[in-house]
Amino acid sequence: MKAAKLLIVLFIMLLLQGCWGSRETDEIAYVLALGLDKGPDRNIIATFVIANPKVIAGQAGGGGGGTGKDEEPIITASAIAPLPIAAFHLMNVERSRQLSLLHTNVFIISEELAREGLGIYLNSLNRFRETRGTAFVYICRGRAIDFMNRNRPEMEVTPSKQYELISRAARIHSLTRVVQFQKFYTATKSRDIAPVASLVALNEKGLTGEPSRPGTLGDYLAGDMPSTKGESQLMGVAVFKMDKMVGTLTGDETKYLNMLTGEMQFSFLVIPDPLKENTVVGVSLKQAMKPSIKVSTDGEHLHISVELFIEPELVGVSSGTNYESNIQMNIIESELARIIGEGCRQLVDRSQEEFRSDIFGFGRYARKNFLTVQQWRDYNWGDKYSRAEVDIKVNLKIRRTGLMLKTVPVVR
């Protein structure tokens, strides 16, 4: 009897070895990034950045065997199909290893495709078992295939880590909005918020682009900021109305977008010195708390009031003015509040007049005013938002002045 029980246990263990779906790691090749471009005849060109197992395994194992020493750590390959997942399946025809999307952490979509509408592609990506809601969505200025072919991360082995770390770094400048697939997908089907996604591009102009001016330090779209040629830049966002891209915001505008939605962790601003011409004051910005947003839907007119709470810190005063003193600090605080208020105002105006799209998600706050979903739908937020009256109040207080408590004038 004991032997029979043992045999049954062994038999069950044999059956439970991953059942029919087991795949050894050396049978799989992982796709790290998936790019989508408009293709011929209603097709798309799907580009896959695949981790090169020869090189990655060599690096992980300390280069044992010396295989893949001179090879690239990634392989870029493209296929044409009506849907991204269909292209993914086609790619398997050319590969010795079965491709897997389990480790794909970025979807890069060309601007051209985004402007035509992404609904059908998002549906496919949302439905497939291997794709993840935590993957980042980037909109590429130009063609995704070109970007993915030419982007070679200098500091990372794989672009997936590059994208992931760049996204985390966005917290310190807030000149873009990093969006995960699930959030983006939800927003494309939402009445109360319009989706946005990071803009990405390679810098083709090198240092020859237009330099920044005081007050407009990050006023660029991805790829336009003067820097070393060939670097990939994540700056600004693409604005959508439902699933169609309708415009772009520069880095500075994105900073104000992040302020208004309470998603700015840190940023910076360089403004003309209010007390001395041709000099500038640099401040780092921090959101003290989430903005207070109130939406009144009573009566005919929609009224939205937003109160921002910003805490800047002085980081550079080129004029040498003693802004640490109470009176002068008030001057700089008023000037900063005015500039931030104006920046936010202009952005709200653009969203109402140009995009006609509630990218701030004010609609979410408006839903409180309705008892049922039907009442909310009947209100027709999308239409009402473009005619809404929006008040923005900036509460700004410089809490810290860095490692200097007083600026002594330069003796000339």
Binding site: W20, G21, Q180, Q182, R364, Y365, R367, K368, F370, T372
Partner: protein, 366 residues
């Protein structure tokens, strides 16, 4: 036979709670969100109130008959023919629940982790374990549920808290969702239709009397509905009610969204193990209850000879729906239109008849 194995309050509460929680891992939360919109969690609270009323209804039936379960009471109150019909309906209800859960849990495993595995293999696995569990008996099930519960609980807490960066509390508005009728009546009745109270009334002999039945079942309902309400709140605030109703397996979708930095993500594999365990408990318990019910109905001394034929019925029943959406629709239909019959309407009849017989009893004898 049942009643031989007795276990404590904690084991019994956990056993029923785990069985009740099984529905949160499959498409049920989606059905509720589709019905009630952002107010699905309110429907769950309404369902909790209704389930406590059901517990009280069964307590009223069991209280005057200590030492007897609902099967014995139905036989005694309704007579042989009506009692047998009632009990057979109870048994088939358990079988239907077991068949649908076997199918939906197997489908869930295919969708999430084992796409190449034939469904018949997975269903056979569930059913074989259910037969084994039912054969060993209730005590073993209760104790293994108790033993595993801390891991299940910590897994769920981990998931809910791991999603906290994604919560958007504005998503719970409009507060009355798809309207009071959908939220309180339709949604309330869907979420309040539970198998575990009837099931507890079948296995009540292991509970040390009707007073314990009330304590155990009401606590299990409070805990089960607490988890359901929390999950619905997290689902609505994370996925939004609009796209949340698209998800086949909302719990799995949520698990896949946990992303706390580069080193804490992809935790769904933990939840697949929890699912498997909870699915097995649910199927085992319902198979066991149907065997006990039939054994009681036909006055058999041992329920075990019934296990294999009943397992075969469950397997056949579970393979009947053509596809996953059909199984989910059938499950929704069972919950919406059938569950209230064996869990409320028939117990009410048993209660009324037993009360009437009691009143008539002294007159007949006198």
């Amino acid at each position: 036979m049942d009643g031989k194995s007795k276990f404590g309050l904690a084991e019994a509460v956990v056993l029923l709670t785990v069985s009740n929680m099984a529905r949160i891992f499959i498409s049920f939360p989606r059905t509720l969100v589709e019905m009630s919109g952002p107010a699905a969690w309110i429907s769950s609270l309404t369902g909790m109130g209704l389930s406590i009323l059901q517990v009280y209804l069964f307590y009223m039936i069991l209280k005057p008959n200590p030492g007897q379960n609902i099967v014995d009471i139905a036989n005694k109150s309704l007579g042989n023919i009506a009692g047998t019909i009632f009990n057979t309906i109870f048994a088939f209800f358990f079988l239907a629940v077991a068949a649908l859960f076997t199918r939906t849990f197997s489908e869930a495993l295919i969708i999430s982790a084992l796409p190449a595995t034939p469904i018949s293999f997975l269903m056979s696995g569930f059913i074989m374990l259910a037969v084994l569990g039912s054969y060993i008996g209730l005590e073993a099930m209760a104790r293994s549920a108790r033993l595993t519960y801390p891991f299940v609980l910590s897994g769920i807490v981990l998931l809910l808290l791991g999603l906290s960066p994604l919560w958007d509390l504005q998503q719970v508005f409009p507060i009355l969702g798809n309207g009071p009728v959908n939220v309180f009546i339709a949604g309330g009745f869907i979420s309040g239709a539970v198998t575990e109270i009837l099931l507890a009334a079948v296995i009540v002999k292991s509970f040390h009397g009707p007073e314990m039945f009330f304590k155990i079942t009401s606590r299990a309902m409070l805990m089960g509905f607490f988890y359901l309400t929390m999950l619905l709140l997290v689902m609505v605030t994370t996925l939004s009610w609009n796209t949340g109703q698209e998800d086949t397996l909302p719990f799995y979708t949520l698990a896949r969204l946990v992303y706390l930095g580069r080193f804490f993500q992809r935790v769904e594999s933990i939840f697949i193990i929890i699912w498997g365990f909870i699915g097995i408990i649910k199927v085992t318990l319902t198979l066991y209850a149907s065997a006990i019910t039939l054994a009681g109905t036909f006055r058999l001394q041992d329920h075990r000879p019934l296990l294999w034929p009943l397992a075969l019925i469950i397997f056949t029943g579970s393979i009947l729906p053509h596809d996953m959406p059909a199984a989910v629709r059938l499950e929704a239909l069972l919950i919406r239109e059938v569950t209230w019959l064996p869990t409320v309407a028939m117990p009410v009849v048993i209660l009324l008849v037993s009360r009437l017989r009691k009143r008539g009893g002294p007159n007949e004898s006198g």
